[in-house]
Symmetry: C2
Subunit: 430 residues, 2 copies
């Protein structure tokens, strides 16, 4: 008999169906066995009476196939239950679980949850962030494809660092040493200049940072985009507002249950306040007595300016713009009106930096001069620079950390909760 | 003035428009300058007369912004031309091109094309495979999302090899040695067992193979999927037929121009012939006097069996099924009817293996016993094995090489033509 998913049972009242899934919870009462069967769409209550009340033996997390008639059951959340006619065990557990997965929250520490990741993920609340993540990726792609972007895949094994060499993982590449890409930044610019004009990439990025924080891992998924023929920074900010609005709309449509599990109402991402860094510096000094260090924002500065802006505007978002040249990478385009600043931005969301971006230098001479200023040797960047010698349009872009966005959307405390198999300094497994 | 794309100019006849792009070709004749402007959507003819016939100076590949009135031009392929009212150079080339990009094909050797990759990609025919590739990814994702799959991102830095250790790139991971993932195989199985049931991933895979062939690179993009609660091999074959049909339909819709550039008509992917390996062995011996070596197919065997099948059935595809245990990985499920064979398959397309897949062992005891048989130590796979101890549904899956599929669809001779920035033994740049 064709399998029916748990979320669809209501349409089968009065009919016999077959469901398949894990025995989420098994309890016996008054000669009847109540079995909750969990599949990827939800949980169904199964009533097993007669010989089925005892046989087959059923441990929690056994994989089962149950056939029986669907009847209304107003006392159950789903509104239906199945009177079992047959129960077949497809896979019986051979060891006790490291922790229960059928409570609303897994009662285990964060390290234990990560040590036993696939088991923890059977808990619907632990798994929910990844349905949200999958929907974010789908929406990112759908929106950008609609805007004429091409999806690209750039190499993760690279000859040199994106910005000169810090925090790189070294790879033994046959007779040579290569590195893992920190970001597709240089490649996406090259592809813009290669005639694609608009490209995006969803792929891993690697940072050999030694710190151990709640918002960093050493491998994460970067949602990158870059586009040519734009007039300035404002085009990028508007694009990001529209992109976020699109993503949030898709999440409301397809992840209502996941958002409900975390008690989340998605914010409005239009009309995000824009604040220039010099202005932010004044606000932080005036309101909080906190100076900017190096013209950039530290985590406390991000938190405070978000708090300030939220209080003034009601938006959890802030575009911090016009960072000083010294606080941005070599390819950031200086502001013609104030060459100490760059046409760059960070998006802050609920007190945390969500992504960085900005206009890039497209003039070959200016880029080479800037490399010298940054102490970089243009010869090391020859394969990047070539495209700038042969007609490079004005362009810019940004990159969003997928796990960071997921964590912020759901209010997760640690980015590891939004990473299937986190890589941090002391964790390489599972 | 809002930018109009070259492909949309016909809708603006009689109006003034602004286009932006690269000066694809510039020639002067009888006091008039003819400029072909190329953007990501096509090429437009611009007529520059009066002072614009000489000024501004325009080298090929200069980035320009042209404003002017659109008029019908039956003698031009696009059917329209623009009478320039202004031409602005946004970026002037500062060096001669390594080769012309405005001929139908780039007149340069394959290594030169790869050395100057972003410049070569400005040629529409060199760039076309990547529009096809982007559409393949989009269709893969759209189809699988519709089938209830979750998109996942698994780590590319791993502690051990997928299947025991050959062809791994080593990474210096802080105080330890780690490796680059050869495939997400073990992770996608773990996620199936973690309750996702159906997962897919689009991501890089790394193989430290020393050979240098037209169908291998050391880093490629793998389209991976894995699904639980299926009845057997046939479910996977039908899924792949439907998936390919869906992808080909999307390509016919969105990549007609790219397919035309390569003179391609996409084949029918339904009703793909299925041939068991023992049967293939008989056919190759009988028809070509060629024995199977180790029960598997070498490149010549793949070519011959495709040729045979195409002759008999008219399909360029063959599902080769039931490979011997010795020719498949440790997790391949033996055929209960003939335990020397596995419930596995390769899809061959036009003489080349496109992807491998099959049913996997889901029983913990059987998997551990098979590891011993393969000379693997189960303790090395503890984080993979855990999920099998706690209820693992029957499952299977497959993986398609994105570049290989793109190359085969377009009839490209070398997979590097379908890779933006190929990584092979002697190439780490650009």
């Amino acid at each position: 008999m064709e399998r029916v998913m748990c979320c669809d049972l209501k349409a089968y009242i009065g009919n016999a169906v077959t469901i398949k899934g894990w025995a989420h919870r098994v309890r016996s009462m008054g000669g009847i066995r109540f079995v909750l069967v969990r599949d990827r769409t939800g949980v169904a209550q199964v009533i097993a009476s007669g010989t089925l009340a005892k046989e087959p033996a059923l441990d929690a997390e056994a994989v089962v196939e149950v056939t029986g008639a669907v009847s209304p059951a107003p006392q159950v959340t789903s509104g239906v239950e199945i009177q079992a006619e047959s129960i077949r065990v497809l896979s019986a557990p051979v060891a006790p679980l490291p922790f229960e997965v059928n409570l609303p929250d897994v009662q285990a520490g964060p390290e234990s949850i990560l040590n036993h990741r696939p088991i923890a993920l059977r808990n619907p609340k632990v798994r929910a962030p990844f349905a949200v993540q999958s929907a974010i990726c789908g929406a990112f792609r759908e929106f950008l494809t609609g805007e004429g972007f091409t999806e690209v895949h750039t190499p993760k094994i690279v000859a040199t660092g994106t910005e000169g060499g810090a925090d790189l993982f070294a790879v033994r590449y046959f007779e040579r040493t290569a590195y893992l890409a920190q970001s597709p930044q240089l490649y996406k610019q090259m592809l813009v200049g290669a005639g694609f004009e608009r490209v995006f990439e969803i792929g891993p990025a690697f940072r050999a940072e030694r710190h151990n924080t709640s918002r960093h891992t050493n491998e994460f998924t970067s949602l990158d985009l870059e586009m040519a023929f734009i007039d300035g920074l404002e085009d990028l900010l508007v694009l990001e507002e529209c992109l976020l609005e699109f993503i949030f709309r898709r999440l409301r449509e397809s992840c209502a249950e996941e958002l409900r599990l975390y008690g989340v109402t998605l914010p409005d991402a239009t009309g995000i306040p824009r604040l220039r860094m010099p202005q932010i510096g004044e606000i932080l000094a005036r309101e909080y007595g906190k100076p900017l260090t190096g013209g950039a924002l530290d985590p406390e500065g991000e938190r405070l300016i978000c708090e300030y802006s939220d209080r003034k505007t009601g938006s959890p978002f802030v575009f911090a713009t016009h960072f000083p040249v010294s606080a941005r990478p070599v390819y950031a385009l200086p502001d013609p009106g104030d060459p100490c600043l760059t046409l760059s931005f960070d998006l802050l969301f609920g007190g945390v930096e969500m992504n960085s971006g900005g206009m890039r230098i497209s003039d070959y001479g200016q880029l080479v001069a800037n490399m010298a200023r940054f102490g970089l040797n243009p010869a090391d960047f020859e394969s990047y620079l070539e495209v700038f010698r042969h007609g490079m349009p004005p362009h810019g872009g940004f990159a969003i950390g997928l796990e960071r966005l997921t964590a912020k959307v759901l209010g997760l405390e640690n980015i590891r909760e939004a990473t299937l198999f986190p890589r941090v300094r002391d964790r390489l497994t599972p």
